[in-house]
Subunit: 270 residues, 2 copies
């Protein structure tokens, strides 16, 4: 098998949210090259059927394989919930990580008794986190809530204004009664609200799990386990591909990455 | 030419918002049969390229023609702005109405001096209302603002809570300085906020143009002009087609229509 250490890491999402994962990977693994695909022509996935999501996931995986990635990160909760196996089936044994598995593993500690999960309508409706958490600890109590306004708020840039804070208060108030010890941010947009979320949680003890950080840490461990770390000493490159409207992506990307993306390429998948 | 009076009216939108148009048409023309198509598999259109929107609009128009509609209502601002001609080119002279033309005509009166427009990012970015208004009155002052959070708020059912009211306050505050005499609701979701919008506007004189009502009135006039009114005395039928996930559509439809939809059919277009 040829040396793949110099190959890029492939990351994909239905749109822009997965950039929080790309950012966390850049910080955790600064010498890795990254190829990001955001399916901006077909976002959002959350309202689509499982069959459609699996088709899209296969198309994107094929695109990343053409780019000769050494591993695939599914930075989209909807794909993680509905199409992980479709990706695994295509990649010929390359490592595949997904945000749900990474977030679940980070959430579970010896002391976890009750875990809260927030996510989009699709993610919460799929019960994907609940199933993944209970598969590891059947006694765990899981409480969840869909927060459909957080993605549009993040994309509007309203991260900590009064509207965001009041929206979070409505969404999070059940958790202040239910008192989970851990709260999983089950959507790649939500790390942008981490400070605002902490403000709304009455218990300062609660652990907040940012699945972007979790998957970045799992990525480092996986690369080490497979001896796949990029040996270059330069900063890794970052290439971005989208399926439609690169301009809007570029505007929003700055908010997510905290830096500009010089080139966003447009590709059409089928 | 065969008698088309008994044929249904075709109404389409990228998703669910166009149901405000369907509702207004049902109230204005209770004896007309209606066929509604919502492209729920590919919503939202606003983030897509013009070429893609034109392709989708042609596919939907062909579907409505197969259903032998007698006229076509474009209940989607994005399609009205980007693909009206694509629809007109396909329909062999059947009447085609669109929400932008209808809203613009309703907004213009002898006394109009300054018109405000609110809509999605795509609609406002296209300057479609501004162009349509200025084509009829070059001296008109037009001020506009994108309100991207209103669609997700409507779909969450937060029509008049504190979050909705504070969001509207932020979006509408420039109009309280600019003082337009008329405000066009340039998105088919926005009629749901009509009361809340009126509360935020300091001038009680301002005319609020609901393009769903406007297009329903234009529909009545157009049918009369072409002698196309359905002669039946029964209440018209309502058939709904969507391209994905009929369940979610059905849930939300109740909020938009104020009544249940018994059958939602799923069709795939290409």
């Amino acid at each position: 098998m040829k040396d793949r250490t110099n190959a890029p890491i492939g990351i994909f999402d239905s749109g822009i949210g997965g950039l929080t994962v790309a950012k966390a990977v850049m910080e955790e693994l600064p010498h890795e090259d990254i190829i990001y695909f955001g399916d901006t022509a077909r976002v959002p996935y959350g309202i689509k059927s499982e069959k459609t999501i699996q088709l899209y996931a296969r198309q994107i995986t094929k695109f990343l394989l053409e780019k000769e990635v050494k591993m695939v990160l599914i930075a989209c909760n909807t794909v993680s919930a509905s199409a992980l196996q479709s990706v695994v089936d295509l990649v010929n044994g390359l490592p595949v990580l997904d945000v749900i598995t990474a977030g679940t593993e980070a959430a579970l500690t010896d002391s976890s008794r009750k875990v809260g999960v927030i996510g989009t309508l699709a993610t919460i409706g799929s019960h994907a986190y609940e199933k993944a958490l209970k598969a590891k600890n059947a006694d765990l109590d899981v409480v969840s809530r869909a927060c459909p306004l957080l993605v549009p708020l993040a994309e509007e840039g309203w991260i900590d204004n009064e509207v965001a804070q009041r929206t979070l208060r409505i969404y999070l108030s059940p958790f202040n009664q239910q008192k989970p010890d851990t709260l999983i941010l089950g959507c790649t947009h939500y790390p942008l609200f981490k400070d605002a979320i902490r403000k709304e949680m009455q218990s300062s003890e609660i652990r907040i799990i940012d699945s972007a950080l979790s998957i970045a840490q799992s990525t480092r461990k996986t690369l080490d386990r497979h001896n796949l770390r990029n040996p270059q000493s330069d900063q890794g490159s970052f290439q971005c591909y989208v399926s439609d409207k690169p301009q809007r992506f570029q505007q929003l990307a700055e908010r997510f990455l905290g830096r500009n993306i010089p080139d966003v390429h447009i590709v059409s998948l089928s």
